[in-house]
């Protein structure tokens, strides 16, 4: 796991003598994942940040990974994270001179200023004890010559991407004032095969698409996954044995169990923010209502009781309210209620239908799918239904999910026609910086989890 460490650079420097580095040969960088697609506008005044490869005190191989190669790869992940935020324009690590270990704490500010970099990221990767790695990263203001961020981590070599995300998070938070979000994960559905018989597999990945892993083999249709807040479990719907049922999948053991025993279809599961409760929808004789149950099982509590379809749901971050959708007024609209089902109130009005509400982790907004004019678009509104803003404008954009800091929204986009496909996208809360996420296959139903501890 990732262990943050506070360290004195002077101490580290004395215990690890700085070698006069001969410039290490940059490792060949082989692109293994599809590139992101950027659509729409980026912020016009992006801050330029220098991100040279992280230095190493001495080139060592730990668990088959060379510390100098890792220094470059970590810098690549940091630069990609910062670029993806839409707020920053990184310079490097490619095309940028490798810094020395001594430079980490003594940047050549003039050199970075000459490249119009307002900030520069420096760092190192050193071999630690017992097969671990020590990763340090620093953010400097090149004009003031001041240190803005200093982070250090002792990690197992396999966690190097997380160290990079933690560095990027620290830099992003310091410069933007926003909470971090890079070091987080996404569960989604990987899709393949013809439209009439899609193979749908549960899959997970880091927020940048790294560490991708398929969970289910595709024999049973899988839809609508949600990571538990501690990332140990995934709740989702499987059509195993030609039934529609909510399962809780245990990531470590690979075992899964039913959320509740029922002869009825159960679907649309969601976790409570503390991971102790699960919402699900159940159809009884054709009528769907929303239920809440302990994640450990027990007796479910029925929360809605109308002849209409009541489905989905998302907890407010304080765990006291639930936003859900219902067609009790005719078409789909968004409603809120207390977690015991009391005080049900419609909050979405205006043109078209509103569906798939998701409460922001910051609590101030609800993202939803607006249906109208034959199109699905992603929008946000306040918990009382005001301040509606539409963020996307495509044929079918569906099912928003929030970044852990409530700043970015992921969703899936479907194209029309016989060859229609779905892919994962994300957009900034302000509607700019629209990007397609790289996935090995087509993708749908993204679910973004919290920042890792």
């Amino acid at each position: 796991m990732l262990r943050p460490i506070t360290f004195s650079l002077a101490l580290l420097l004395t215990t690890a003598p700085v070698l006069a580095q001969t410039a290490p040969t940059p490792p060949a960088v082989t692109p293994t994942e599809p590139r992101e697609t950027i659509e729409g506008t980026l912020s016009q005044d992006r801050t330029v940040i220098g991100v040279p490869p992280l230095a190493t005190a001495s080139v060592q191989t730990v668990a088959g990974l060379r510390t100098d190669s890792l220094g470059r790869q970590i810098a690549e992940v940091i630069a990609a994270d910062l670029e993806r935020s839409g707020l920053y324009e990184p310079i490097g690590p490619n095309g940028v001179r490798a810094i020395t270990r001594a430079e980490v704490q003594a940047p050549r500010f003039a050199e970075w200023q000459a490249r119009n970099a307002e900030n520069v990221v420096h760092g190192f990767v050193d071999a630690g004890s017992n097969g671990s790695l020590i990763v340090g990263c620093y953010l400097y203001d090149t004009a003031l010559g001041s240190e803005l961020v200093r982070k250090g981590f002792e990690i197992q070599p396999g966690d190097w991407r997380r160290a990079a995300h933690k560095c990027a998070d620290a830099i992003y938070s310091r410069l933007s004032g926003e909470a971090p979000f890079f070091d987080s994960r996404v569960a989604y559905i990987a899709e393949s095969g013809p439209k009439g018989n899609r193979i749908k597999r549960l899959a997970i990945m880091d927020s940048d698409g790294g560490n991708h892993r398929f969970i289910t083999n595709g024999q049973a249709l899988a839809i609508s996954p949600r990571f538990s807040p501690d990332y140990k479990k995934i709740v989702y719907v499987s059509y195993l044995n030609n039934r529609v049922r909510v399962f809780i999948y245990d990531v470590a053991s690979g075992s899964q169990k039913l959320v509740t025993e029922s002869s009825n279809a159960t679907f649309a599961p969601r976790w409570s923010p503390d991971g102790t409760q699960i919402l699900y929808s159940m159809a009884v004789n054709g009528n769907t209502d929303i239920y809440r149950i302990s994640a450990n099982g027990g007796t479910p509590v029925r929360l809605t009781n109308t002849p209409g379809i009541d489905v989905g749901g998302s907890f407010s971050p304080d765990g006291r309210k639930i936003v859900f959708e219902s067609d009790r007024s005719g078409g789909q609209q968004v409603y809120t209620m207390n977690i015991d089902g009391s005080n049900q109130q419609r909050i979405s009005f205006g043109g078209g239908r509103a569906a798939t509400p998701e409460w922001s982790p910051r609590g101030d907004l609800i993202a939803f799918t607006r249906m109208g004019g034959g199109e699905f678009r992603i929008g946000v509104m306040t918990p009382s239904g005001g301040g509606v803003r539409m963020l996307t404008n495509s044929w079918q954009d569906e099912a928003p999910t929030w970044s852990p800091n409530g700043r970015v929204i992921q969703f899936f986009r479907t194209t029309p026609g016989r060859e229609g496909k779905s892919s994962l996208w994300q957009v900034d809360l302000t509607g700019v910086n629209m990007r397609r996420l790289p996935t090995p296959q087509d993708g749908s139903d993204p679910s973004w989890g919290p920042v890792l501890p």
Partner: protein, 172 residues
Amino acid sequence: MTIRKSTAMIAAITMLAVGACAKKAPDTLPPAPEGTGTDTGAGTGTGVVPGSQEDFLASVGAMGDRVFFDYDQYNVDAQDQATLQTQSQWLQRNPAVRVTLEGHADERGTRDYNIALGERRANAAKNYLASLGIDPSRINVISYGKERPAELGSTEEAYARNRRAVTVVIGQ
């Protein structure tokens, strides 16, 4: 029980079925499939097994296994009633047969809602069959929402064909 059987089994069952013909009421025999002639003889081994999905489809006719719905609706209209009446006659002739009613929606709804909508449609068809005297315990219901379109296009015609409840024989 799965629909597909080994050739040997089909041959054996076909011979049994043919052998039993004389003693059973004529209406246990499936009508001859159009254009294929009476190829239910034991000699070919490719006959339609009474009570099978093939038998059902041959009996109810093309598209007779499904009823269609308007956008975001689940009411069973007069045309649907006629279709389900034909299905119920076959089900009454084959009282041991169990079926699944698959509810589907077009792609113009969100995923979870469409599962709920497919449940409504499949249950509406099930309830109508029950009103015609079919024991509801013979009928399973499953909703596929928008996951399994029959028509792949994104046109009104395709959507109309995808808003459906399909009766599928699952065994006896």
